[in-house]
Amino acid sequence: MNMNRRAFLKTTGAGLIASSFPMSLVKLAFGAKSPAQDFTFGYISDAHIQQIKGNRFVRNWDMGLIRAVREANLLTPRPDYFMFGGDLAQLGKKEELDHGLEIMSKLRGKVHYVMGEHDYYLDLGAYWRDKISPLYYSFDHKGVHFVVLNSILTYDSWTNGKWASPMDRMLAMARLDNPDGSPFMVGEEQLTWLKNDLEKINRATPVVVFSHSPIQKIFKPWNFWTEDAENVQALLKPFEKVTVIYGHVHQIQYNQIGNMSFHAVMATAWPWPYPESYSQLASCMPKLTVPMNRADPFFERDATGWQFIDVSNGKTAMHYQLPDNRNRTVAYTATTGRPEDLSYQDFSSRIPPQMHY
């Protein structure tokens, strides 16, 4: 009965399951060692809905979100709920958020929202708080404790600096490679809230954290980074099973730090290069990560996508849905104690498009 997911998927043909459409979920019955039940949820992120003028929006980014919603609506059986991982808007405008919400409204199921920097730095979350969601909160589902963090805050001196206008500040933060940008952080207020929130939770309860930025330090110049990541990790350390799922990076990333598994989600809008592709500065991409394929710009949706996530016995498996590309699954593997790609983890099984330079 203790058959691990990887072995199961290998024997049943993961490729076939992942590529069949409409999608069927892989469901495994684990021994009842944990109070957590098995379930799935969907995850859509980084839509970057961008207004051109009036009611005109960038068609390419619209189509990414529309496609993800349409595909997610075909999931059978239905996931328990959906997450949206932040950056619904490109420049935080009401028009962009409204347009994004209109597309998201077609998604069948409850959606929990995570805030991204592109949603925040125009009005500092006012419209988001009013129309969409609190900026940070927690909830429990089938024996798992979920925490949503607002990890895209930064130093007050930067946020409240001498900006010509709020849009000026928004544009400065929206530019990923801005040399005058500022590092993301969770901040003291939220750390105190998180400490109190987690104090009530049994250490054996699986904890899943959703943030926009990685709660680990990969590449500061593009904010693949959270300045106070160590402080968040310290609060998560006492728990037996912790998973952190983040957006912002527009690419497959995964890592294991102690008891904590880290996964990035895909963007529906456009892919970003891996930091190693910028030859002028060093970066710290987790060695565990087998990169996604290099994007082919001639296929508009290539290297974008969305994902659904299995939670089994408190551990997660990411099923990446990649239009114009082969789908991938990165799942926690009990034998090695870390997330692994079910097809490509061994060096010998990697393919040329996964080589980035």
């Binding site: 970057h48 961008q50 207004q51 051109i52 960038v58 068609r59 390419n60 530019r175 990923l176 490679d177 110049p221 593009w222 456009w270 892919p271 970003w272 290069p273 930091p275 592709s277 910028y278 030859s279 002028q280 290099r294 994007a295 082919d296 710009p297 001639f298 980035h356 330079y357």
Partner: protein, 140 residues
């Protein structure tokens, strides 16, 4: 005929005077240059790089989208691999053609001439952000 001759004489005179002027003010020969020259040329180049940086981070087409949205620090443009066989186009192309492809498609704009000052600036910025990487023409 008269005009042509006058033009020729006038031109010769101007060249002669310019020669005298140059020989009076510069002692260096054609192949000689100074540290000051190097600094000036570098400054000229970096001015164009800065223009390219600005263009790369602005809307060059009709839909507000900018190059850096997909290529922060011009990463993943691989200037060192051009010219190369661009498999999607089915022929060997120079980098400016791919820049134009991006301007026309994701940016929904009009292509630039290869020697347009804007194109030269864009290529200067893209290549500068890739400085030090060995040439690898044809690499995919």
């Amino acid at each position: 005929m008269m005009r042509k001759n006058r033009g020729f004489i006038g031109g010769s005179l101007a060249a002669l005077m310019a020669g005298i002027f140059l020989s009076m003010t510069f002692s260096t020969q054609a192949g000689d240059f100074t540290q000051a020259d190097l600094e000036r040329w570098d400054k000229e180049f970096m001015t164009v790089v800065a223009k390219g940086d600005k263009l790369f981070h602005s809307a060059l087409g009709t839909n507000q989208v900018s190059c850096d949205q997909c290529h922060p620090n011009a990463a993943n443009t691989h200037p060192e691999t051009y010219p190369k066989f661009q498999q999607q186009l089915g022929r060997v192309v120079s980098l400016f053609e791919m820049v134009n492809w991006c301007i026309q498609n994701p940016l929904e704009g009009e292509p630039l001439l290869a020697d347009d000052a804007k194109m030269v600036a864009l290529l200067s910025y893209i290549t500068y952000e890739r400085r030090g990487v060995p040439l690898a023409p044809g690499k995919h």
